[in-house]
């Protein structure tokens, strides 16, 4: 027993000594992460909390008093015809933009990748829309799609069809804006896919050819598509987010007329045009939740498939 006790003493001493060192290391670690944490709090977390507080009030911008109204803003939102329409429009927009924006970009990337001399030209050509401001470009699109003076309708008429009023026919509005959205994201996604393609080792293609993958479809399915998995995941997530954030095209082309509001546009109307700050805050929270669910869901679901 005495022996055991004697042994315990130095063990205890080392333990306390170690715990002081550990504590000091921990403080040091906190010091190092503090700037990042403070920034995160200042830029993201506190604004979201403020937003959450606003969302349960009926605060109007400039009002002197405000009232706590619980979840009334949220229940109101889901019976608000404009909000529901904007939600539907945004979903339709996303359903068109995400697959087309991803798969067209992949197709273009595959075509551009195999060009040797003209590759730089095609890359620049497809990337230009990304660098252009969408507000300015939307005006150009407005001209292009104009029913009487636009070249697109001139072409349609030349083929002998009736001119199409892309920007006033309520059925065509969202799809038209979705096409502009696809045009906008295509170049960026293409560049991402090109980077992904460059990273695929050449000898995988050679191995596939010797393994009997004669047709390009086989090589695509055996090597390209699976190897692009991580890139595709990233492209899908970023495209979805930018699709749900559609705003400029609506603001410039239709200003929400003919029932063409989207989520962000409705939010903008409520928050800045009608000064319903509390309601707009509630809508923003809903929007945030949708984006979060989408990106987390996609990442978790797809990550299992693309990881190797």
């Amino acid at each position: 027993m005495t022996v055991a006790l004697d042994m315990d003493v130095p063990a205890d001493v080392t333990r306390t000594r170690r715990s002081t060192t550990e504590r000091r290391m921990m403080w040091r670690a906190f010091l190092f992460v503090a700037p990042a944490c403070l920034l995160l709090a200042a830029i993201y977390i506190i604004p979201i909390l403020v937003l959450a507080v606003f969302s349960v009030t009926d605060y109007q911008l400039g009002a002197l008093s405000t009232r706590f109204i619980g979840f009334d803003n949220f229940t109101h939102a889901f019976s608000d015809a404009v909000f529901l329409r904007s939600l539907k429009n945004t979903v339709i927009y996303a359903v068109i933009v995400i697959p087309l924006g991803v798969f067209l970009a992949l197709g273009v990337a595959l075509l551009v990748y195999n060009r040797k001399r003209s590759r730089a030209f095609w890359e620049a050509a497809y990337f230009l829309p990304v660098t252009a401001t969408l507000v300015a470009m939307a005006t150009v699109w407005q001209f292009l799609l104009h029913p009487s003076i636009g070249p697109v309708n001139a072409a349609i008429k030349w083929f002998g069809f009736e001119p199409v009023s892309f920007l006033s026919n309520p059925v065509l509005l969202i799809p038209t804006m979705a096409m502009i959205g696809v045009w906008q994201v295509l170049g960026f996604n293409m560049v991402l896919f090109l980077a992904g393609l460059t990273a695929i080792p050449k000898d995988l293609y050679e191995a596939a050819r010797l393994d009997g993958a004669k047709s390009p479809i086989d090589r695509f399915l055996t090597v390209t598509w699976p190897m692009l998995g991580p890139t595709t995941l990233f492209v899908v997530v970023t495209t979805s987010i930018s699709a749900f954030k559609v705003f400029e095209t609506v603001a410039v082309l239709t200003k929400g007329r003919f029932g063409s509001e989207t989520l962000l546009f409705d939010l903008y109307l409520e928050g800045f045009e009608y000064s319903n700050t509390g309601y707009a805050a509630a809508l923003t929270l809903i929007f945030l939740v949708i984006i979060l669910i989408l990106s987390i869901g996609q990442t978790v679901h797809l990550d299992r498939k693309v990881h190797y």
């Binding site: 000898d203 050819r209 393994d211 009997g212 699976p226 190797y308």
Partner: protein
């Protein structure tokens, strides 16, 4: 499939202005283990890629089993290749990796599609593929790894998977591009044995590219030693070691490297080393400067002979390498191989005397080609 012969006639290939391959003629016999060996940049990998169909020759013809395949797509040549990087599909399990060559050949395009593939492929074909995969995996002792992904395997295991993927479909020939160079020394020696054993068991045609002469010497039936886009010598390992056709071959084959000494062939055909007549005669037409090649094991320590100042000895277990400079010309470095027990018997200045059996000497002319020699009368005396 029975092993196939492989013939290259007049193969040439250039990249830009450089001629990487200059008119290569090579016949690989069915079931032969042939190594293409040479320094990096000698064109051996390009030649292998031309055989595989991954590279088009500028001129010449490739035929497999007597059929011209120069214009045939790699997928239709029925060759299997093991890459230096192994080129395993990282997203597939080991099982799927090995099955890929069979799926490509035995299943229809529809059956190979994702999602709908399962419905369109017959259970029979899938079972056959599974059985072949199992067999290949057992041959290479990787059956327990079938459900792993390549990232979860060690280098040696990946190597085995790459081999299994190659042999799962009994191809006309196996092409191997430095398959052992990414392994550590011990594993490499082990895989050398296994590859040789695999070749014996399969009886298939192997074409093996390596820059490591030891790999080539230990495994091959024949070696084609390449240099600057040409085949310097084609022969058995014994021939390349014992009768090197050119100085390049002599330099490349053998550890330690062959000892080379400048000699003079006199007008009467006598070979002179530092002014001394050697008991060797060469044809008179080669008169002029030449190079004498002596293998380290052909040098012996004698009481008289060329004096050599020893500056280092290297212990290799059974052998000991002795390095020294010739007293006659301090720039000349010679290496002797002694068995470990042998006495070095150097004097106080570290000087030993060496001689060699004239019959074991190799003589190369100014054009670097081997010169046939004969022993002169004096040697017999």
């Amino acid at each position: 499939m029975t092993p196939q012969s492989l013939d290259l006639t007049g193969i040439g290939k250039g990249f830009g202005a450089d001629d990487v391959l200059k008119t290569i003629d090579l016949s690989v016999r069915p079931g032969e283990f042939l190594s293409l060996v040479g320094m990096s940049g000698c064109g051996k990998s390009t030649l292998l890629r031309i055989i595989a169909g991954l590279e088009r020759p500028d001129r010449g013809q490739v035929s497999i089993g007597g059929t011209d395949v120069t214009e045939t797509d790699p997928s239709d040549r029925n060759l299997a290749m093991v890459f230096q990087s192994y080129a395993l599909y990282p997203h597939m399990s080991v099982r799927q990796n090995i099955a890929t060559p069979l799926r490509m050949r035995r299943l229809s395009l529809g059956a190979r599609m994702p999602l709908i593939g399962r419905m369109m492929s017959s259970a029979n074909a899938l079972q056959e593929i599974e059985a072949s995969v199992m067999q290949a995996a057992e041959t290479l002792q990787i059956a327990h790894l079938l459900d792993r992904k390549p990232a979860q395997l060690s280098g040696g295991q990946r190597q085995r998977v790459a081999l299994a993927r190659a042999l799962v479909r009994s191809p006309a020939a196996f092409l191997m591009d430095e398959p052992l160079s990414n392994l550590d020394a011990k594993l490499r020696a082990h895989m050398r044995d296994e590859l040789a054993a695999l070749h014996r068991r399969l009886g298939a045609t192997f074409i093996y590219v390596t820059h490591d002469q030891v790999e080539a010497m230990t495994m091959s039936d024949r070696i084609a030693l390449m240099s600057e886009g040409r085949i310097e010598q084609l022969g058995t390992p014994d021939e390349l070691y014992g009768q090197p056709a050119t100085l390049t071959v002599a330099r490349f084959i053998g550890t330690p490297s062959i000892n080379l000494l400048p000699v003079e062939i006199g007008a009467e055909g006598v070979v002179r080393l530092f002014g001394q007549d050697l008991p060797i005669a060469a044809p008179v037409r080669h008169a002029g400067p030449a190079t004498l090649g002596l293998r380290a094991e052909d040098l012996t320590i004698t009481s008289e002979g060329l004096p050599l100042r020893v500056f280092r000895t290297e212990m290799h277990g059974a052998d000991r390498f002795v390095h020294g400079h010739l007293l006659a010309d301090e720039t000349q470095h010679l290496t002797l191989r002694l068995s470990a027990g042998e006495q070095l018997a150097a004097d106080a200045d570290g000087i030993i005397h060496i001689s060699f059996a004239a019959g074991r000497a190799h003589l190369f002319g100014a054009d670097e080609a081997r010169i046939a020699t004969s022993l002169t009368e004096r040697a017999a005396a």
